[in-house]
Symmetry: C2
Subunit: 437 residues, 2 copies
């Protein structure tokens, strides 16, 4: 992606196709490298709506923000690639110093490997005979491929070992023992259970390397914000205990140990807690946030406010994360006063929480730039292809006006688009990125 | 799609790509026509999971079911293509007699036109200068293109006329006047308002043809099922009034008049009510259901039970709609007794209601076929990539078992997949279909 100033622009991705959402119907196919040259501008109605756009300025600032945060905290990042599933955006993250790419599923591994990403952290157990076999084949075929996956059960551990032996894996498979918590998602339910699993893994050291420990604090919630923070901190303390106990028992394989946690909500606490770990062996603290890159206008916007209140000097030191991703749509119908139907729906934007109208534009009426959405224009709900809004009876909006929505959650917005357009501050299209969901 | 026995198999679609979800990572690219020859079988772990499969037997039976229903009711169908956005499935629907394809957005029109579908009903106003211009260009370029769109506002009507005149539209644009209801989605709020719009449209007859009326009853709900039915019926009565008033006033353009309503919940009532319409002019009653084709295991399964209770002889006459679409995934982790994490999430399956485990299979253990999911295994919630289930502490499920989920809603499951596989009753892959969301 030249527009993102990434060095490796040799990757081949399919041209834009008019059969893709957000791509002009009469453009023919357009190679990604030629998108900027088309001179398209969102506000000139050059894109069919709905369309998803990423503000390049905000994207770059967010990426630099995380780089600066990590420089101060001492950790590294393996940003969760599942958020965007966009290799061009992975490139930007690696340019800004990312240590690896984190992924969730075998399919996401296929994508990352097809684009040549060499250090990958699968933040899940690797399950299924074909998926395990595929990873072993990749490792055998490419000495430069550095792969980590989680383990939380003896059954999975034995399956990994069995297939690794069958396929004569050229070097041990790096596993991270996963610590969870009662009532949570995956992961061993106690430090002791995780330690036992690590001990079992050590007995399989011909094919398995215990390369570190992992936890995910991002779904921990308490009844109040301070209680949430207390629970997150206590969980991270247990993760530190696990790592230090593995160290004392000599369970880690030779080489650098990986200590990893950290979603997009509490990465400051993760960096702080895991940064204090004491191991004799060389180790790296790996955060895995994914949403910081585009940020949002609802869920992570709220969580970022909390993060700032925990770190009073942070904004002053390095500014704010900014919402970079917007979805634009037309006012489709104003069928009765105070009720506005906009032409976007559950297939276009995240809806675990409702999107918020951020920008407004009236095409063909001499406006040179967007205006803020007027007050009291509120999304009530989304159908598959329609958005229902409440507004004052005297709303100035008209059928055919354009509305730019701030999103509530990046992960569940990116996956609704095969193509997102990069825009400058005037909504000129300066490039496009593909996703591989 | 030869496996669907559709006559036109000349369309070119991209081969399967290992970067697509549900496609084997080591398969290379596979032309759609060669998929069946690969001999893949879901239960042999030949697909990476999660994967979406459509049971061909159930799909064909559902398509035939609707054909039989329409033969008895006298209407025709323009199935809502937004459900599947799969041209191969549109083909099947046309083979089984569909009159047109219904669509929601300009993007969906691009897709349908690129695959050569000639009669298209846009169940929305056509909004935006570029979108209107594109449709006018298509009409001017292709005399065989028959296009209908809705109108519910004078503003939109005038914009259509303005652009049609600018671009010298070769024949009038066929519009359907949309009737809605107070508090509903789009559409004129009263018969009188709709009639006024039809009268205004008639004054633009050089570029606009009033070709019929439209309503959508699918989102009407009352506090009880009988009250819902009463409201749906009353709405359809108003739609009949509107059509008959337009007829009496001579507002319809020459040619066949289109009277259309009907989602997937109440199409029996629509066929009944609209079938009784009295017009001097030739007319066709067009239903627009989309979900019947794959049906589901939750939302439309419940609505179909209601439809059967309204039509006691229906099942006996023509059997049942059957859930044809399943999403399969591995048991990812059983971190504590009674809690099971399965590797599928909000990015893989509809989640307005929770999916239901339907089938269970243990690979590598000598099982020849699937078993029903055991009782009391229930989905509690979905994360982006994880499904949280509650189960008895003595659940027989193990990490690495495969689970097939019945879906809660076809529209919001199809849009999570670029490729879905067609399977026979033994889960052998007999073909694949592409979607264009």
């Amino acid at each position: 992606m030249q527009v993102l100033a990434v060095t490796d622009v040799s990757r081949t991705e399919a041209p834009l196709d008019p059969r893709e959402k957000g791509v002009p119907g009469d453009a023919g196919t357009v190679p990604l490298a030629e998108v900027a040259g088309r001179g398209w501008r969102l506000l000139d109605e050059d894109l069919p709506l709905p369309a998803a756009v990423i503000k390049v300025g905000a994207l770059r600032r967010n990426s630099a923000w995380m780089k600066q945060f990590l420089a101060a905290s001492g950790g590294v990042i393996a940003p969760h690639g599942k958020t965007t599933m966009s290799p061009a955006l992975f490139d930007l993250q690696l340019e800004d110093g990312a240590w690896a790419i984190t992924l969730s599923t075998p399919h996401q591994l296929h994508v990352a490997r097809s684009f040549g990403f060499n250090r990958v952290l699968l933040a899940n157990q690797l399950v299924g005979r074909s998926a395990i076999g595929w990873v072993v084949d990749q490792l055998n075929a490419d000495p430069a491929f550095e792969f980590y996956c989680l383990v939380d059960s003896l059954k999975n551990l034995r399956m990994l070992a069995e297939i690794a032996r069958q396929k004569r894996l050229s070097r041990p498979l790096r596993i991270l023992v996963e610590l969870g918590f009662p009532g949570g998602r995956t992961g061993c339910r106690s430090v002791e259970a995780a330690l036992e699993l690590a001990r079992a893994a050590q007995t399989l050291s011909d094919v398995v390397a215990v390369s570190g420990v992992e936890g995910f604090e991002g779904i921990i919630r308490g009844p109040t914000e301070p209680e949430t923070i207390a629970r997150v901190s206590a969980f991270l303390d247990r993760l530190v205990q696990l790592a230090e106990a593995c160290g004392r028992e000599g369970l880690f394989a030779p080489g650098q140990v990986v200590i990893t946690a950290g979603g997009s909500a509490f990465f400051d606490i993760v960096a702080d807690k895991l940064g204090a770990i004491r191991l004799d062996q060389a180790h790296v603290v790996v955060l895995r946030s994914g949403c910081y890159l585009t940020h949002d206008a609802v869920m992570y916007a709220q969580l970022f406010e909390q993060l700032k209140s925990r770190n009073p000097d942070l904004s002053q030191r390095q500014g704010e994360l900014q919402p970079a991703l917007e979805v634009w749509a037309y006012v489709q119908s104003i069928p009765e006063p105070g009720r506005i139907i906009v032409a976007l729906g559950k297939r276009d934007i995240s809806f675990d929480q409702m999107p918020v109208p951020a920008a407004w534009f009236r095409p063909g009426d001499g406006w040179s730039e967007t205006r803020p959405a007027p007050a009291e224009h509120k999304v009530l709900g989304l159908y598959d292809q329609h958005c229902i809004m409440a507004a004052p009876e005297a709303s100035p909006w008209k059928v055919g006006d354009m509305v730019g929505f701030g999103i509530s959650h990046p992960c569940l917005t990116f996956d609704k688009w095969r193509v997102l357009h990069l825009v400058d501050d005037g909504y000129k299209i300066v490039g496009s990125v593909r996703t591989y969901f």
